[in-house]
Symmetry: C2
Subunit: 344 residues, 2 copies
């Protein structure tokens, strides 16, 4: 430990910069003037200073791993859902480019997960919590983590605690855009198939749905608001009720692509023509969205970028604790992709 600290001082002295600058250059944390960067790298090379951030992490008693804690959902192939696979691809890219490992751990959402022990036992240096929900057991685990001031970030789920770091997408705006698009197509009777209420992004979609309707002077009709759980099966199951209500529906906004694909499948089996009998706007813009018949108009969520950003911010924090903001709070924008399911 001492040897490493002394060396960083020596590099700083030889390059004529501060120790913090040396650490920023060697860990690739920009922005940085190119001439400064070259000077630091040359000084480091001359002094045989360890350039590999992870190698020096180990020397400082770190694991070199970023933890990703996932909920265990029986029977669901979690990595095969667009949401998790894209987030992980983004996290993976950030982790790889800095020479870190990505440690996946599974939690039981019904009990309070002991995050702190992951740090204590040096299994992770920081962690990202995926798929968290509003259950008390979940928020208690997160609150404890925040109270210990350990580096972590929750993905796409809001908590009241201002010490909880988060990277999310703006689902209020995304849902507002989706419904406004349907209103622009002349629809007045717009149903909503929302996902599970334990996720804050479900409440956000509801807020955006209501805002767009109210702004257009359309009364919100709770009898055409349906609930699924973001699975394709739940979309198929709700087709019965939507079919029964077809007389009072021009269109439906669906909380994710999987449910929309299930719903369309169920409706088609009952003889529905889409989009003639019902216009559909979905959410996510997963790979399947452009393969369905008709292709889905849907709200693109930048999951890959969200995962990458969360991981980068945490690794930056680890590399340079003194200069990085400890609490992360980033909301990324969504984008409406118009295809044929919302009418031609």
């Amino acid at each position: 430990m001492n040897r490493l600290l002394t060396n960083r001082k020596e590099v700083a002295k030889l390059a004529g910069v501060s120790e913090a600058t040396v650490s920023r250059v060697l860990n690739g944390i920009g922005p940085m003037k190119e001439s400064t960067r070259v000077r630091v790298l040359e000084a480091a090379k001359r002094l045989n200073y360890e350039l590999n951030a992870v190698a020096s992490s180990f020397a400082r008693g770190r694991s070199g791993n970023l933890g990703v804690v996932l909920p265990h959902v029986p029977k669901v192939h979690l990595f095969s859902t667009y949401y998790f696979s894209e987030l992980l691809s983004g996290i993976g890219e950030a982790v790889r480019s800095r020479g870190y490992g990505l440690l996946l751990l599974f939690r039981d959402p019904s009990s309070v997960y002991d995050y702190a022990s992951l740090y204590r036992t040096q299994r992770v240096d920081a962690c990202i919590v995926l798929g968290a929900n509003a259950a008390e057991s979940e928020s208690e685990g997160i609150d404890r983590l925040a109270a210990e001031k350990l580096p972590f970030c929750v993905m796409d789920q809001r908590f009241d605690n201002p010490l909880v770091s988060i990277v999310a997408a703006d689902h209020v705006q995304g849902s507002y855009d989706a419904v406004k698009h349907l209103i622009g197509k002349g629809c007045r009777n717009i149903g909503f198939l929302n996902g599970s209420p334990q996720y804050s992004n479900s409440w956000d979609r509801m807020t955006g749905y209501r805002q767009a309707l109210e702004e257009a002077g359309i009364r919100v009709d709770d009898s055409i608001v349906y609930e699924g759980n973001y699975s394709r099966t739940s979309g198929i199951n709700v087709a019965e009720a939507v079919y029964r209500d077809l007389g009072k529906l021009d269109a439906i906004f669906v909380g994710n692509d999987r449910m929309a694909i299930g719903l369309m499948q169920g409706l088609r089996e009952k003889g529905c023509r889409l989009p003639e009998d019902l216009k559909v706007v979905a959410y996510d813009d997963s790979d399947s969205a452009s393969l369905t018949e008709p292709p889905l108009t849907t709200v693109k969520v930048p999951f890959y970028e969200m995962g990458k950003l969360a991981a980068e911010r945490l690794l930056t924090l680890l590399a340079d604790k003194d200069n990085a903001e400890p609490v992360i709070n980033e909301i990324l924008q969504t984008e409406l992709k118009v295809r044929k399911s919302s009418g031609i």
Copy 2:
């Protein structure tokens, strides 16, 4: 360490079974008579013996992590490909049910990866190699790993070295079934769009394709064998050549669903009617296979089960080195799923 060994001996004595049996029961390695299982668990409880396999792993200086080493492929969202996401879901399930963590690490396929250091630095107890290919750098890394007799398993890629553990699918049989199905539909002129030649599963598909043709007395025509790289874009790109050859083609067998989806997209843009102008059989049975128009006839590969099996076998090996077979060699069967792309 000593304390743990003594305890296992005591539990064995109290339960009236061997130490190996205690270890098998506590690590959940079946089959096991229920009465024996109950006796061991009761003895363990009475002696306050640590039931958590991972906790005792740590005590023995283990990491509690199974490593999964993936190739870095620039610009590809690896976890969003059906192949990797299903394998990881299976591995994840096995790892979770035994309380292990899953450490994802990225390798550069063009240089020899130093697997052994992962074990030396106690980052992993065992590892699974995904996406390996026939490049010399890759086989040299794997050979070194095998030479050190460290617990590992390569997924779906064959190597000549008999010390290399492998879990794979029978792609010769899968491809044979696909082509035989087309022959049964009356096709004689069956093209083949294969994936990258650096994967042994590509050679296996070629073998199965040739076997089915030869058995039916059909000459293999190299002018209707095309090459892609398993990406959707490569399927789109090959559409030009396939369209030109339509006069001499009844059908085409495609090495995976992604390429088939790209090929069908490219052909449709040129005015092709599918399956009327060309019958298509694909490979994988990914989520998208039933969403395309027409839905894909395709060979289902049990990726989830392959991942789960490899991880279970490795964790069994770790839990009970003396009784488990050190070299894993499992070939799982595929299954043809008939849909409309191969004709009605």
